[in-house]
Subunit: 423 residues, 2 copies
């Protein structure tokens, strides 16, 4: 009665998407606007760190050879010839018996080769001159941070594709990257289809529900680091739907539609792919939820036909769209990080297809637990709000028990992995 589709494994579906993935572009943004962007180039040290030998403490810069005979009974006294703070330059080189009072971060004077911390020094004034004394020998190099000892000039520090975090931004500032070369955000179009859909500000009407998928996906797009363009919702009517989708494709890098991909009487997407002359990469995947997820390629762009069912839509995006966006952003670990965890609840229902189950991760004494996020009905959106991972339950004839080892894909993780499968 309906077209019969042959499901393909998730891995195979992903490899089809990968064959058609889009290459990213770079752009420059001010360092003030670079947070949460991804680097489009490796960050390299433009000078040694520190750029000059400096003092890690408040104290006195000395010539170590002048302290050789100092001990508890024989303090050595030095005349303090200069007083410098961080950012001030020492102007005097030290001669025998001279010291420079120096603050943390200041440059070491010429011919000084060690720092005596304040705590071990005595100071006194005499005839309007300043003196200090020490009662111990100080080794050459002691308490001096040598030029380049932290970072050598030209050293590669951060990889292209890295998400810019507070630490990354500090490195960028240190080396004067006032303009930062970052990955351009791909523009992802979103269209919701379905005669049953109301706008979010409409009153509920009999037989209708509000459009939640489009809002959910725009949020997933933002989380993935891309930019969204929302083209509204469409009734299940072929001509208008085809024209809107064709036009939208021109304005975006990737287009995502929700709904209409199944084989129901009002599911128009298959006919639209045909009219667009799009290359349908797959339209049935051996997974739950989201088995009707469709991906097509047209004119060098990717066209995702996600299910109208919220959790199927959510999973379809994370599995097939997010990695392609990450690749566009130069992320070298574009797939969701997949970790092993202990299942915290029973999941007795077997399924022939691989399940991606909404879940959240907890930690217990150094072990990772994966917990079911509410009832796993495929149409319950509420549990999506409490999920931070998708648990992977392989298809088969048996269910799963609390205590079983499972895999989980982390949704808020910034690390990722380079391949879809565990390495």
């Amino acid at each position: 009665m309906a077209e019969v589709r042959k499901p393909i494994p998730v891995e195979e579906a992903i490899s089809h998407v990968w064959d058609h993935r889009l290459n990213g572009k770079a752009e420059f943004v001010s360092i003030n606007d670079c947070d949460n962007r991804r680097l489009a180039e490796d960050i390299v040290a433009k000078h040694p760190v520190p750029p000059f030998p400096k003092s890690p403490y408040d104290g006195f810069a000395l010539r170590s050879e002048d302290t050789l005979e100092a001990d508890r009974d024989n303090p050595m006294t030095f005349e303090v010839v200069e007083h410098i703070g961080a950012g001030q330059l020492p102007e005097k080189r030290l001669h025998k018996g001279q010291a420079t009072r120096i603050m943390t971060g200041a440059k070491i004077p010429e011919d000084a080769d060690c720092i005596a911390m304040f705590e071990i020094c005595q100071v006194h004034e005499q005839d309007n001159r300043s003196f200090m004394s020490v009662k111990r020998t100080i080794a050459s190099g002691q308490n001096i941070i040598e030029k380049g000892s932290e970072v050598a000039d030209g050293e590669k520090l951060i990889n292209r594709g890295t998400l810019i975090s507070p630490g990354t931004k500090a490195v960028l500032a240190t080396f004067g990257y006032s303009q930062v070369k970052v990955a351009k955000k791909p523009v992802i179009g979103v269209i919701a289809t379905g005669t049953e859909l109301l706008d979010v500000d409409e009153e509920l009407k009999p037989g209708k529900i509000r459009n939640s998928n489009a809002y959910m996906i725009t949020s997933q797009i933002i989380r993935a680091g891309a930019e969204y363009k929302y083209f509204g919702k469409l009734e299940d009517e072929l001509k208008t739907s085809y024209e809107t989708i064709k036009q939208a494709l021109n304005e975006v890098d990737i287009l995502i539609t929700t709904g209409g991909v199944s084989v129901g009487d009002f599911d128009l997407m298959p006919a639209i792919y045909e009219k667009l002359d799009a290359d349908v990469l797959f339209n049935k995947v051996a997974m739950r939820p989201g088995s009707v997820t469709t991906v097509a390629a047209a004119g060098g762009k990717l066209l995702y036909g996600l299910s109208g069912n919220p959790s199927a839509c959510y999973v379809g995006f994370e599995l097939f769209a997010r990695p392609a966006i990450q690749y566009y952003l130069f992320n070298q670990t574009p797939f969701l990080r997949r970790i092993k965890a202990i299942l915290a609840n029973d999941f007795p229902k077997p399924n022939p297809f691989t399940r991606f189950v909404r879940s959240y991760i907890t930690y217990e004494n150094g072990r990772v637990n994966a917990n079911l996020a509410g009832i796993d009905k495929s149409n319950v959106v509420t549990s999506l709000a409490h999920s931070n991972s998708l648990m992977i339950l392989p298809g088969g004839t048996r269910g799963f028990k609390a205590g079983d080892e499972v895999e989980a894909m982390l949704l808020n993780d910034q690390q990722g992995q380079s391949e879809f499968l565990l390495e």
Copy 2:
């Protein structure tokens, strides 16, 4: 020679901050702009979900009693009196021997009480009328999603203070929250002090380094969900510094300065707190790095004096400022999530103070490992770029070995915990 300060434990320092934490405010934003904001109210179901009984599949709606005598040898035939898609309303109530062709998501017609999926039905046309037949009994309620079976009207779904994720946004859209009541972002002022500091776009000069702390902190502020206001950098000069800081305090909720909090000759912050008549909550904490971290309260505002040392500055913000910001944002778990992990490297250097060591978390067969992020010199910013956690190494007389159990605070986690210490 210098003022002697008495270090207090980290927990005590945090409880001083907590005594002076600021209460947050709420504001409304469009659902289009609500991503990554925190809810300022509980989200409650404004209607049952689904709002009407609906079909989970494409199939035929029937009266179960009409199928009672159906079996393989005795198919029961029904006249198809209506054909409805999702969003269309059934207009006909079913009488004996009648069926409605119905698509996924559509409302169940009156007097129908079960759905026969397409896969088990035969259809035929006769005299311009449509018929279908089934060869089995279908139970009352089968394949019907009852009104309110997923969410009851008035049910509390998501807590105030929750970060708005894709799943949360879907829930907001479902219930028509076109305007979302979110926590107002507190405005955090940032001032960098230090004569040694150059702007990020300045050429390196002898004895000077670029200001990286201010950029790092603005990024930490963004990560914490607040808004920053940068007042620039100040030379170590008392009058201008005092006036700038006094003025800045008027324009922000919380003010963060970096540098100048130690007891060096050019450390002006202690004098400025005095001139401001600020209540210094503490100025020495038994921790590394960041022992000179200072927090003061003035005019109902918090004034953070973080160290000029980048990693001390970073840790000071995460430990003392971030939880206060989270509280302002109604986050009910405002402290960084603290988990147990296995130390992956030796850390032989003992320290009398608790250490917060830059680290990153990895997962191995269901176990959590905490790895050192590069050399732990307190002035190396590069390793901050590779950190996603702060390992907590208790003070004492011994070092730590790979394999030891340690605690780690997760920097990119969205969960948090309600108290600073492990519960």
